[in-house]
Symmetry: C2
Amino acid sequence: MLLIKFKITFIYEMLFFIDKMKRKVTLKQIARELDVSISTVSKSLRNSPEISEDTRQKVQAFAKLYNYKPNNIALSLKNKRTKTIGIIIPEIVHHFFATVISGIEQVANENGYNVIVCLSDESFDKEVINMEMLANGSIDGFIMSLSKETQLKKDFHHIVEVINQGMPVVMFDRITNDVFCDKVIIDDQMAAYEAVDYLISKGFKKIALVTTVDYVSVGKLRTEGYLKALRDHNMPIEEEMIVKIEDIENCSVKIERLLDEQKPDAIFAVNELFAVTSIKLAAKMGVNVPEDLSVIGFTDGIISQFSTPSITTVSQNGIKMGGRAAKMLIDRLEMEEEDEHYRTEVIETHLVERESTPTL
Amino acid sequence: MLLIKFKITFIYEMLFFIDKMKRKVTLKQIARELDVSISTVSKSLRNSPEISEDTRQKVQAFAKLYNYKPNNIALSLKNKRTKTIGIIIPEIVHHFFATVISGIEQVANENGYNVIVCLSDESFDKEVINMEMLANGSIDGFIMSLSKETQLKKDFHHIVEVINQGMPVVMFDRITNDVFCDKVIIDDQMAAYEAVDYLISKGFKKIALVTTVDYVSVGKLRTEGYLKALRDHNMPIEEEMIVKIEDIENCSVKIERLLDEQKPDAIFAVNELFAVTSIKLAAKMGVNVPEDLSVIGFTDGIISQFSTPSITTVSQNGIKMGGRAAKMLIDRLEMEEEDEHYRTEVIETHLVERESTPTL
DNA sequence: TTTCAACACGCAAACGTTTTCGGTGGGTTG
DNA sequence: CAACCCACCGAAAACGTTTGCGTGTTGAAA
């Protein structure tokens, strides 16, 4: 009889030992093992003065031995907050978005938050699905940049809904003025203006624009900056000098035609890809950059730095942008009284002069 | 009295209306409103045959009206699984890692999983902290690539611990053989071998190697591939033709010295950055690629595609790598009996021929 | 000896689900 | 009329926490 009792205890100990090695240990298990209540264990671990020095020590030692860590999910359920931020962006294989994530992750981490990343692939439906997935308790707030399709459809009901449910949203870069929330952007129009102004000041007369279709918010703004710069300097605006590219995959044809027919002496491109493509096409046609043609791009990414010649470009600091967005979101999450007053932060840009524009 | 009663009801209705617009509605609220029990509501929504057609309809209509969605956190707690995957990588502003995440996210999404991303910044401590944060119930499994510091210290206790707790881990690219788990890699040595073999077959005699320090696992393997290729073709291995770069920020000096003193006729670089830097430095010294010098890089990223000349490189398909890793993890998560047999998948690579090597 | 505070701890509710089990009422059958 | 079955529904436990409150014990003061 004693033997059986011993055996059972022994087996139980063994099981618990295995349990220690595997699976996580819970308050309940510690409580059972130490023959105290769950609340005593919990309070001991949180150094509550309610518990005697003695048992507190004992519990803490045991907890340390078994490497107890409170279960995040249970905490989330109790506290009604998950300490994680949802990020929804069009794509991640894109230097700018990667830098933004990096910036978000950094300040999120500093504040004890995690980030969960969803990609919309520029699709409206995926954006909606992802938001709905995350909105059901998985996260405390969103940081997002709109997909192209969403910008085209101008349908923001999913975002408004989430906001109405009391979940804060911060939009960055590709934003819309149709929803009220915090935003962080660059002054796309101003930045484009300055770039074109720079070209004009260098004496260029035939400045072409390679841009996106208008429904892409940032593309449109940069286009407006280009137009404004020309107007302010009383320079003619010619439709033929402007190419709007819909399908980024084969932008070559249109750019080639531009170079061939218009023979611009400078090009302002609204992104890196258009800039480098222009340079490569020009080279193929015997037009040298920067001797025969100057090029300014947008976004200071890998391409601008490493292409030959390296590309003068408008830098938009993704790290800082992401950091600010995260800061805004966390601030809003951690203030007690709700603030209906939304802010829009503007990140400063500057022109990075490189080899694709004349040095003097 | 009636008035008061009315007023109270009215206020209550108002509050509930506000509640509908804001915050999420729970089973309990629906139950209270419809004057049934919580379980009836739950069963109705899951179409349990236990519930009469009548009440089921009623509940479902009400739920739809108030846009009820079950709370993910509560589900996670109950089901003991979160349906999210934790990703830990050294950095995200890096084309290859971005593509891997993209691949993971895609198949994760297809299987109803989310991904939560943590960056180690090549730091051992951050890697450990991130793993511990996520291991406490936030995720179901890890997909990770080791930080440089971790590879240097050879300290993998945090990974082993997590695995012992019963949480599956899949490692990719920068792996270690000291931990037993699923892995997905490319055959770095073989791929490097083929690249160098290609150069040899083109008749190059002075083939230099620009690589990383040895503790970076993939760098070491690629170095071995280079050495093996030379040996197999009975070509001399000269220490001076091999530069091992510690600090990626200023790799220029060492490469410049190599070009200047050794005058190689071909270079095999173990990543894009070393390749493009070599080309740029060569150009500065009046050495033209590919006429005077051939260059082959590793990883088919943005730089290789858009640099001038574009760079012949070993493509390692990050999308596929991420996809496979996610598949392996999810398979392991969703099989009932535990399988102690770990697999290592090898993703095929191939040489992408571009302008930095002779075309004929 | 009585009273009362301080101390140490346990109970139970709460967060939002799912699911098992048990119960009630009405109808059918022997 | 009793026994039984079935359709329908609710209570409660469980997941792992935290925390307000109740309670029992002890020691000291009155």
